[in-house]
């Protein structure tokens, strides 16, 4: 007989499954203060740099939530994306995939920009006369942040009042040692753990 999913853990789902953009934004643990202050400047640019899985997209989505008129574009690999003509600030995820013409046009425009990128555009943007703030996506990734992030994921899947499983600091520390700043790989690892979990317990 089909039961309610993960009710044995007092959860509604595996907390480490994929989330929608809205859910991910709600759970983002991002220090946005400096970026928001910087974006108050005209023609300002914030670039979030980091490797795959470090949380660049999460940073961008968290910053986007502060601007009702923002425009967001993700450039898939091997594809050329059209840059939205309206909306500010303009958020470009995977900005290293902009074509040269798009870079020239976008970087020299007056629109405020938030870039998620593997490539550092600081010098190019400075030459274009842009005030720039560079944020490393993993700059605050430590044992405590991993512990908080993962437990927030579990909390968001809570079914009812009462106990739910939790991640210990020791596990957070081990995950950090194993995966570095790659939060996505940590989540994938925890997905498998929770798929096997039979009782409410510390993990």
């Amino acid at each position: 007989m089909t039961a309610l999913p993960f009710s044995h853990l007092n959860l509604r789902r595996n907390p480490f499954g994929e989330l929608t953009a809205v859910e991910r934004t709600a759970l983002a643990l991002v220090e946005s203060g400096d970026a928001l202050r910087h974006l108050a400047l005209p023609r300002s640019v914030v670039q979030v740099i980091g490797e795959k899985g470090f949380g660049k997209t999460t940073h961008l989505l968290a910053l986007a939530a502060h601007f009702a008129d923002n425009a967001y574009i993700h450039i898939p690999e091997g594809q050329r994306a059209a840059i939205p003509e309206t909306g500010e600030p303009l958020l470009i995820d995977e900005a290293q995939r902009l074509t040269l013409a798009q870079r020239w046009q976008t970087f020299r425009s007056d629109r405020r920009l938030i870039l998620g990128t593997h490539t550092d555009f600081e010098s190019v943007l400075r030459r274009a006369g842009r005030p720039i703030l560079t944020i490393a996506a993993n700059q605050f990734t430590n044992e405590l942040r991993v512990h908080t992030l993962l437990n927030a994921r579990i909390q968001s899947a809570r079914r009812d009042d009462g106990p739910i499983p939790s991640i210990t600091l020791s596990t957070a520390s081990k995950l950090l040692a194993q995966f570095g700043s790659d939060i996505r790989s940590m989540e994938h690892s925890m997905y498998d753990t929770f798929q096997q979990l039979r009782n409410i317990q510390d993990v």
């Binding site: 089909t2 595996n14 994929e18 993700h74 995977e94």
Partner: protein
């Protein structure tokens, strides 16, 4: 503390509803602070969760209560009813889950909206309205997306034309590589055809329900003498969930089930001697019905492979659509699971045409005293008469199937001219006595009528001694009519029971 607390309760404690049924429940509201609401809305939707990107169905929204003010301490109760969809049904796998949700939200201007959400379990019921057609082809369960505009089609056409031109230009440079690959494929086909001749693979249907008997047949006439490692069949069910997009895209797969059956192993095939093998098995009981969403898929395939040592293998993979049994209702071209098939799984006594029908409780009582086959029954020897009547009935339509169904309660004496004996992979009838039995195919002696008899595991030694051309005397009960092979399906009766 929020301005008010919302809670959803379904009218059924177990939260189980059948596809197409009305889902009913109540929303309880407890007000903590004065609040002005611009309305309370309820939404109803299915969503996936798991490793793949979240997919969801159409959101149905209804207004439960219009704008009004609430005072602290007030408690309200609102009833709701929504119509459940027929597809997709609730599924809890490893990488993919499908669940149905009812959410309620109080809309408070310029403030946080109190909300609540609960899931319920949707079990198979009514087939989707658009799930009609033939069981011989896969039918889309997810309705097609809206048609694109003419402008969109023109733009797409131009893009495709440009891409084709670019590919054509590159093809000139890549011509040697393309020719090499094409040559390899041609050589492989030619080499296989040179050994195997034309290989015919017959399958009964591709839309299948769990528990259903399924038979595939492979036939060919080797052109040369050669050795084979095996002729085998693999049934594979897997989940495939894709997360992210672009470089972040990652597809996670999980094998739900893999069953392999080898019907011939380490054998020498002789030139000119026809090879005809059958793979018969009961489709496994599963709730992993086929699911085809962009990033979340549950897929089933059947692969037949002729493994030839030091030579390319011949193989063919057929996608299979697994659906709940109730979804077969509006489909045509193949018999449904017959009642005789299902009854065979019960421990109750077989019913003869002369005896009055027994109820389930009666048959269970009789189990305490006697085995099913020991109950006094008139043994009928009218199989030849039945065959004559079958042959007189039209081949197409339900007439032959109905005749078999009417005679399904009789025990019949049978003399069968043996064609082949194969091992079963799971029992075509849900009776453990047959689970590891054999499948005997041939013709009813003195006629051209094909028959397949599944045999008791306890009789395996005797059955293994049978050879092509032997006449096998036994007692059988009919299961159903196989319209694809124009064949009677039957099961052996334990003559020594009781």
């Amino acid at each position: 503390m929020s301005k008010c607390d919302l809670r959803i309760e379904f009218d059924r404690k177990d939260r189980r509803f059948i596809g197409g049924e009305t889902v009913t429940g109540r929303v309880y509201i407890r007000v903590n602070e004065s609040v002005r609401s611009s309305g309370i809305t309820l939404t109803h939707q299915w969503r996936t969760h798991g490793r793949g990107n979240v997919a969801s169905g159409t959101k149905e929204t209804i207004e439960l209560e219009s704008a009004r003010s609430y005072s602290p301490g007030e408690e309200h109760e609102l009833s709701f009813s929504v119509l459940s969809p027929s597809h997709p049904v609730t599924y809890h796998g490893t990488m993919i889950n499908v669940d149905h949700y009812v959410s309620v939200q109080m809309n408070v201007p310029w403030a946080f909206n109190p909300k609540a959400e609960e899931d319920y379990v949707l079990v198979p019921g009514e087939p989707p309205a658009h799930f009609v057609g033939s069981r011989n082809e896969i039918i889309a369960l997810t309705p097609a997306a809206g048609t694109s505009s003419i402008v969109g089609k023109v733009v797409l056409g131009v893009i495709v034309a440009v891409l084709l031109l670019v590919v054509a230009a590159f093809a000139l440079f890549l011509l040697p590589v393309i020719l090499l690959i094409a040559g390899f494929i041609w050589f492989r086909r030619k080499a296989l055809a040179g050994r195997l001749g034309e290989v015919k693979l017959s399958i009964p249907h591709v839309v299948v329900a769990p528990g259903e008997q399924w038979t595939a047949r492979i036939q060919f006439q080797p052109r040369k003498q050669f050795r084979i490692n095996s002729i085998g069949f693999t049934l594979l069910g897997k989940e495939s969930a894709t997360s992210g997009s672009g470089t972040k895209a990652k597809t996670h797969t999980h094998k739900i089930l893999e069953q392999k059956l080898v019907v011939r192993a380490n054998d020498m095939l002789t030139a000119g001697e026809p090879v005809s093998e059958e793979f018969t098995f009961a489709f496994p009981p599963t709730d992993a019905f086929s699911l085809e969403l962009s990033d979340n898929k549950v897929q089933w395939t059947a692969t037949v492979r002729i493994d030839i040592p030091a030579f390319p293998d011949w193989s063919k993979t057929q996608p299979i659509q697994v659906v709940p049994e109730s979804f077969l209702r509006n489909l045509t071209d193949a018999p449904l699971i017959t009642s005789a098939d299902r009854d065979a799984s019960l421990p109750g006594t077989p019913n003869t045409s002369l005896a009055p029908p027994v109820t389930a409780s009666e048959s269970l009582e009789s189990d305490d005293e006697e085995s099913p086959e020991s109950v006094a029954q008139e043994i009928s020897s009218n199989l030849l008469q039945l065959v004559a009547t079958l042959n007189a009935a039209p081949r197409h339509g339900n007439a032959r199937g109905d005749m078999i169904s009417h005679a399904a309660d009789q025990i019949l004496d049978a003399a069968i001219l043996i064609d082949r004996v194969t091992s079963l992979m799971g029992a075509p009838v849900k009776d453990p006595r047959y689970e590891y039995g054999k499948s005997v195919t041939g013709t009813i002696d003195g006629t051209d009528q094909a028959i397949q008899v599944i045999t008791l595991e306890s009789q395996n030694n005797e059955i293994d001694d049978l050879r092509r051309g032997d006449i096998w005397q036994t007692q059988i009960m009919l299961i159903d009519w196989d319209s694809l092979y124009n064949r009677i399906n039957a099961r052996q009766i334990d003559e020594n029971a009781g």
